[in-house]
Symmetry: C2
């Protein structure tokens, strides 16, 4: 991830990358050491939200904590004719800011609904709603999309002219993420059809 | 990523997850704030190595720095009958330790060879080797696999018995990562065949 990187914070680019991913990696500082936790996240307007149970230790000693939320999508392996010019195609966003906890139960409910709707539009109204104690056990954090960088590499092999006669295959091997065939839960009633939203989950 | 998590540091489990992934997220602390960078990584025995250009700022002020290297593979979306029991299937490893830089050019060359062999076995001998200045421009870091946690969720929907009559589809939607059709570089000589290793890149 060294070459042809273009750092920017164009909001449309940032949002497009955030909206394409399900998983982010959130970095915290705990007792002076870094902690990076993978978690589901979702964007709601100018904010990103995520499940933050791993942040509870960081938040216990402080109402707010500094975070770096990073999203990356690996799109391809770039095989060039020289060892040095090998690279990957990818899209990534780093967001810097302060994590805040969603404490109000009404706001938390709304946030969790947004998460589910991000993945499976229409499902929230079908499932059993959270109880008060389930809501308490759910930890939701958020931060503003305000400071950070988007980086994209989406170009072919970048060989030096002098290397173009090297007798080796060169090119890009794309990497794709896709949904498999849904596996119904044991005991699912036979009259329950597979909802259409299952095949529409946005993954990249 | 809340339910049925099993944290362990069984070395075989840890190695299997590390060996399945190409991308990791490395967390550093810079001026008291977290920084999480996505980068290619590879395992060599009891160590992990990664491209560390983003660490240069952290390493400039200190010969070694604390890092958290996290690898995660998202394997499926777990749709249960209650909002609260939704989850994801995944495999993840967090490694905690100290990052060290590979400075010796012979060692760096060997490390970069291991990276390429991780991705495309047999390719190192085919490509143009790095020059002295290319080697200098490559930044390779490593840490011991010594402290951390592996977490795996690889089980079906975990609904409460009371929720099993909720009239909604429940189950797991698998997520798969795969290689697309390789795209040859412009101007690739027509007598250069596609190497067999291209279809064997381990992605998950």
């Amino acid at each position: 991830m060294r070459h042809s990187e273009r750092g920017s914070f164009d909001r449309e680019t940032v949002n497009a990358i955030l909206d394409a991913a399900l998983l982010c990696h959130v970095g915290y500082v705990l007792d002076g050491a870094p902690l990076v936790t993978p978690t589901l996240f979702w964007r709601d307007g100018e904010r990103v939200f995520w499940h933050g149970s791993a942040a509870s230790r960081a938040l216990r000693t402080q109402a707010e904590c500094k975070v770096c939320l990073t999203v990356s999508l690996l799109d391809g392996i770039v095989l060039s004719r020289s060892a040095f010019n090998h690279s990957v195609n990818y899209r990534s966003v780093m967001l810097f800011g302060t994590a805040r906890s969603v404490d109000d139960s009404g706001e938390k409910l709304l946030a969790l609904e947004k998460l589910m709707e991000r993945i499976a539009r229409g499902r929230w109204g079908e499932v059993r709603q959270p109880t008060e104690s389930e809501l308490k056990a759910s930890s939701v954090l958020w931060m503003d999309i305000r400071e950070g960088a988007a980086k994209i590499r989406a170009i072919p092999v970048g060989d030096e002219p002098a290397d173009r006669d090297q007798p080796v295959w060169a090119g890009v091997v794309p990497i794709m993420t896709s949904l498999g065939e849904p596996e119904p839960a044991a005991g699912l009633a036979s009259d329950i059809e597979m909802p259409g939203y299952l095949s529409k989950i946005r993954l990249s």
